[in-house]
Symmetry: C2
């Protein structure tokens, strides 16, 4: 057995403590699998005295987190601090500059600064790894980078945010309203007090930008993700989708469209025959469709200290085995600017739901607007009256250009019949 891989941990919240617990519990087995022990030598966090349920006494305590980058006896720094910039980014830059491999669970940092850090790591010939940044404990980075490596990936998509999926599938199960499920989820600790990051799609967009870069060899382009969340979705939408044979899921979706990168986070109507329709609760699942493999799906826990620690330590085992390799699937300096494909050019079926005043002529107004925009309607249902005396109208379009749907809706912007913004969701198809 050769010399241990000596690591330093920055950040000792639930994930950081989880990594310590994992290495303590599975250490002997890990040493066999990695070919050498993984040994924690130094730790740093804000508060030295907080009780974390793990014994920190065997490790050198470093007050100044940034000093870990310069610790002489450390081969690899593990960052579990979070935040796209600030201390995490400084530590990443400094650690890599000092020739130390770097493992992180920080999706925001990789989504925003992944290219810079990848170039730096590769110029030094060291590893930058981030399995835990996407879909928690599911080894989807390795699944795409190594498992599907022989394929041109046609599209990559999935359920990337557990909180949103928990809310949607709980609404589905109990027929309950968004607001009440969110409140319950917050009480149970499944949703943050400030839930915007999760339910408005930002967290999923971070992960999607990373998956897209990995799958297509395009530069990470977080700002190119079109993002919408799930706040507008009503229980009636879920019922309506179900009647049509679909389930509503918040998906991140990326593909190459005419040489350009298309990235979107939005709620989709997923056909019941698709495996994503069966992903319940806070589970995550990622689908990669390869030109030879066909559809691969990876599912598991998308968050939590155990799953996240599992992913972090798997990265450390890769490094201990000297299986580091490039940061993404291809060397960072070979990644291309994808350009941005606009969703408006895309064609597909859309679900549109309006809340309207219960008065004559509304249906005629809506259908005329759609007709004028060249959008033809496949099915339309005027559903229940709400408590406020409004009426819900749901429709599914025939295959249409998305920009035509947008144009149809724009014609209705000033209509006095509409109450609130219409909700638009796309139907997931094999061509999406």
């Amino acid at each position: 057995m050769t010399a241990p891989l000596r690591i330093a941990l920055a950040g000792l919240g639930t994930v950081g403590s989880g990594v310590i617990r994992l290495i303590n519990e599975n250490g002997a087995m890990i040493a066999q699998r990695a070919g050498r022990p993984i040994s924690i030598v130094a730790v740093s966090a804000r508060d030295r005295n907080r009780d974390r349920g793990v014994d920190l006494s065997p490790y050198k305590w470093v007050d100044d987190m940034d000093a870990l980058a310069g610790e002489p006896d450390v081969d690899c720094v593990v960052e579990m601090v979070g935040g796209s910039d600030g201390p995490a980014l400084t530590l990443a830059r400094n650690s890599l500059s000092h020739g130390k491999s770097f493992v992180t669970a920080n999706k925001a940092m990789i989504a925003h600064h992944g290219m810079e850090l990848a170039l730096l790591a590769e110029s030094k010939g060291i590893s930058l790894k981030y399995e835990a940044a996407v879909a928690g404990g599911i080894p989807v980075i390795k699944g795409i980078r190594d498992g599907a490596s022989a394929n041109r990936i046609e599209r990559v998509y999935g359920i990337l945010n557990g909180t949103s999926n928990y809310i949607l599938t709980t609404m589905e199960k109990h027929g309950s309203d968004f607001d009440s499920v969110l409140k319950d989820a917050q009480a149970l600790g499944y949703a943050e007090a400030d839930p915007g990051f999760d339910i408005d799609g930002v967290d999923a967009a971070h992960k999607l930008a990373i998956l897209a870069a990995l799958s297509f060899g395009t530069e990470v382009d977080f700002d190119g993700v079109e993002v919408a969340g799930i706040r507008g979705i009503m229980s009636a939408d879920i019922g309506q989708a179900k009647a049509l044979g679909y389930r509503i899921r918040l998906l991140g979706m990326a593909r190459i469209d005419g040489g350009k990168l298309f990235q979107r986070v939005n709620a989709y109507l997923v056909p019941e025959s698709h495996p994503l329709a069966h992903i319940e609760g806070s589970t995550n699942a990622v689908v990669a469709e390869g030109n030879f493999s066909g559809r691969l799906m990876f599912q598991g826990a998308g968050a939590g200290d155990g799953p996240t620690a599992s992913a972090v330590v798997a990265d450390l085992i890769d490094i201990a085995r000297n299986d580091g390799g490039t940061v993404f699937s291809v060397p960072a300096d070979k990644m291309v600017k994808g350009g941005r494909a606009q969703s408006g050019n895309r064609t597909g079926k859309s679900y549109i739901r309006f809340v309207v005043a219960d008065k004559p002529g509304v249906l005629a107004e809506i259908t005329a607007a759609m007709r004028d925009a060249q959008v033809s309607i496949e099915s339309m249902i005027q559903t229940e009256k709400t408590n406020e005396g409004s009426v819900l109208i749901s429709m599914v379009t025939h295959e249409s250009r998305e920009c035509d749907v947008t144009q149809g809706l724009e014609k209705l912007v000033n209509s006095s019949s509409l109450q609130g913004e219409p909700v638009v969701m796309h139907l997931l198809s094999d061509e999406d």
Copy 2:
């Protein structure tokens, strides 16, 4: 870009031709991802003149397959001949002895000779890889070996045979009989003319033995797998299971039981809430439950030339990247003899179905036998009369020791009331 990885292909059936097509089509992308090109230099198969839809003229044709092992300009031999012994095994031994890495899709050979070949490869410091041997295009070997590497795997199980799953889920969908679905599957090419290998569980057992060795660090022990297939399953069983909230799936199941290895292929009743209950048609899915990751599931196409080629070439990319590593999760000479845990000691609920004569006293006879064996019955249904005037009796036991169930059934072996062997299936639980 460094020197190409030079490979020789043995066997040019659909999978071999698929590998050639894949490398032709995705070659430039693969070179970027692997850091160097993968280049086919020599090929060998039985019939040189057969039209395979791929141009073989760029490659050196070698009549004697075994001579590939000695080809001076070859770094790695890819075997797609099949068969646990014979030419495939000879080629594997010779290639590794000559210091050439070896990639295979041959589950039977790895299940029977994996230990010998792994020891040989590791003694030479070269790679032996077999991603395509288990679950076709799904990167489950890498998923467990690399993705879940930080975990003690609690159990590994899944749907490992596409033909059996196609038959069971088609029966489920259409309420049709086993025989007619098998006949249709054979006509459609989904099942072999001699289907025993698939429907009697042998193919799944090969894959399970490999997964168990990888997951638990135990020596590959194919002979230790308890194997049963699906021939005895009737449409009524599927209906009965459905009424109870279960789907019937042929599963391979492995875990460590009191320090010993438990391996079984059998039909299970899978709760509808479990992701395996939603795997339809010929899709495969593998679940690995880690002590930190929780439940991970990998799903995709378990067979076919495209998916299999995808897995074979992913192995080649690993080798080109020098990410070969040990054959299983730990070095072969560190793998332990697991010993064999007997299923009789296991505890769980069982589904038992009898075909009996429609006459008085049968129910009393069966229930007495179970009572005498200490097996208590949770639910029992006497179902429809068959065309032959027989009656079906299905029961689900309370948690019982399997040996007690066996003992109860043994008491009935000579009963004149029973028509044919009872069918026993276990209910998949979180503890299974």
